[in-house]
Symmetry: C2
Subunit: 312 residues, 2 copies
């Protein structure tokens, strides 16, 4: 067997759900040939600190320092800082661990010195020894705003402070029309052998990336190479509130409902065996369907799914 | 005995040395009648955080949360943040504890939202339950710059990064001429029954406060009520590098050398019994001399000295 040219992969990712598959890819391929484009709609400034939850979850996961019990934050984390911060009367609904704080302060200070979010992400992943490129979707802030019955609120307020309780009527990405894809994002989609849409929330993890000007068009141009892994299995989210949100916005919570959202730019839609009855409906949307075990509990599950995707 | 009117005291303070006496005063008098004017020449911005070492030492001490082993930082402190910060290639010579960080982030965010350093100090001391007023000497940054054989450097770099090793040739307070005393500072000196100069480094703790426009003049106007506690006992600093710095700048390291620096505005100069031979020389400078036990090791020592000063 002659050495094959390295297969290059670009993955679109949210946080915890995506990171399971990304960890599998990281182990199943040359990690230097992997580029991850990460949702930054979740980003928020709290206490003057620029916090990029999905960038950090992806980076910590690939660096092997993530808290395995939660999928976010650092392994063995402590919260002495946060407890003291509460004494100053500050809202402490957003968890900020002592170790994690080093990342936020480093990033915030780089931005204050004129660096871009991309440059901060690059500094952080290099320092943590991550071999894959990690790109924010944009260097501009594009906060995801949830339109709820209790009024508009930042996604993190909806998710953490209000525990996804307010019913949602819509979602928008503030400032998206004036934003640009971060350097390398469009090229990474254009040049990769495979583009993988990770099993993340289609509305608030993949949705913001798709909404960045020219990203969706670029994906459409690569439709045959785009593989999307469905985050809904048996009508339920693999992780997080995707199912509830899809239902509240009238999309319905099923694999084919997600397929509809991705049909214009996805060549192959990957569903779990449990959803095989939806194969004809998804094919009717103009996509190939691959049936693979998409529920990843162990590291072996993650690598197996990653290998299967690379072999498609 | 009829209830006496509350004796009001204003103290000028640096960090650790001053805090010993301040803790004594806090216990020996009505703490609401105590105002502390604190050196901010040591303040520095590191990693985007506004750090006010002396303000924090004084506040933590009076709040009872200071680390008793070091005199700075918080009791039971951990340094998980700092260790991770080093991984990002940042200089970590300045100790930033996990709990302590809450203070720096709270203050930095208040300043970023247009609050003054005075307002931040007030917020912090209130949150920590300190009953005495704690005023920064100025709301403007006035960094103490050490003129050394290795070039000019910020006082914290000299003190911590270079462990006071470079020989010094001079000291200046950057921006002092354009600065103003913080709100309440001049009034606190004018209105107090007693003004106490704490046993802090005369060059880099009390010196910067004296250099703030109008402070020295205000003290001169209250000369009869000003009591200075000498930080040099038996030719040595009670704490820190005062003795070495006094010698390098040609002042000499003795009680009377400090007395010379304070003679124009001090009514009573307090020395330890060990320095009683210097009493005539100090009297010759136009001050009364009080001989008191100024070495404070225990809380009882601190209260005893405080009571003796209040009784002068």
């Amino acid at each position: 067997m002659t050495p094959a040219r390295k297969l290059t992969v670009t993955a679109l990712a949210g946080g915890i759900g995506a990171s399971k598959l990304l960890l599998g890819l990281y182990g199943a391929m040359d990690p230097h040939a992997l580029t991850v484009i990460v949702n930054t709609g979740d980003d928020i400034v709290l206490h003057g600190l620029k916090i990029s939850p999905d960038l950090d979850i992806v980076t910590y996961t690939l660096a092997g320092v993530v808290n395995p019990a939660t999928g976010w934050g650092m392994r063995g984390e402590t919260f002495h800082f946060l407890k003291r911060l509460g004494i100053y009367g500050r809202e402490i609904w957003f968890n900020l661990g002592d170790r994690d704080l080093a990342t936020h302060i480093h990033r915030t200070d780089l931005l204050a010195h004129g660096k871009t979010l991309s440059q901060a992400a690059e500094s952080i992943r290099h320092a943590l020894g991550v071999k894959s490129r990690i790109l924010p979707m944009s260097d501009q802030p594009i906060p995801t705003i949830m339109e709820t019955r209790d009024g508009n609120m930042h996604f993190q307020e909806y998710l953490i402070k209000h525990r996804t309780e307010p019913g949602i009527r819509g979602i928008h990405f503030s400032g998206i029309k004036q934003a640009h894809a971060a350097p390398g994002v469009l090229e990474a989609i254009c040049d990769a052998d495979r583009v993988i849409i990770c099993p993340s929330n289609p509305l608030i993890s993949i949705g913001p990336i798709l909404a960045v000007p020219r990203v969706r068009e670029q994906l459409r141009a690569r439709k045959e190479s785009v593989i999307a892994v469905c985050p809904i299995v048996g009508g339920k989210s693999l992780k997080g509130p995707s199912d509830k949100m899809l239902i509240q916005l009238g999309c319905g919570s099923s694999a084919s409902a997600v397929a509809k959202l991705y049909a214009d730019f996805t060549g192959t839609f990957v569903i779990d065996r449990r959803d095989s009855s939806q194969e004809p409906a998804i094919r009717a949307l103009g996509m190939k369907v691959a049936i693979l075990p998409t529920v990843m509990k162990t590291y072996a599950d993650k690598r197996r799914l990653a290998r299967a995707l690379l072999a498609l």
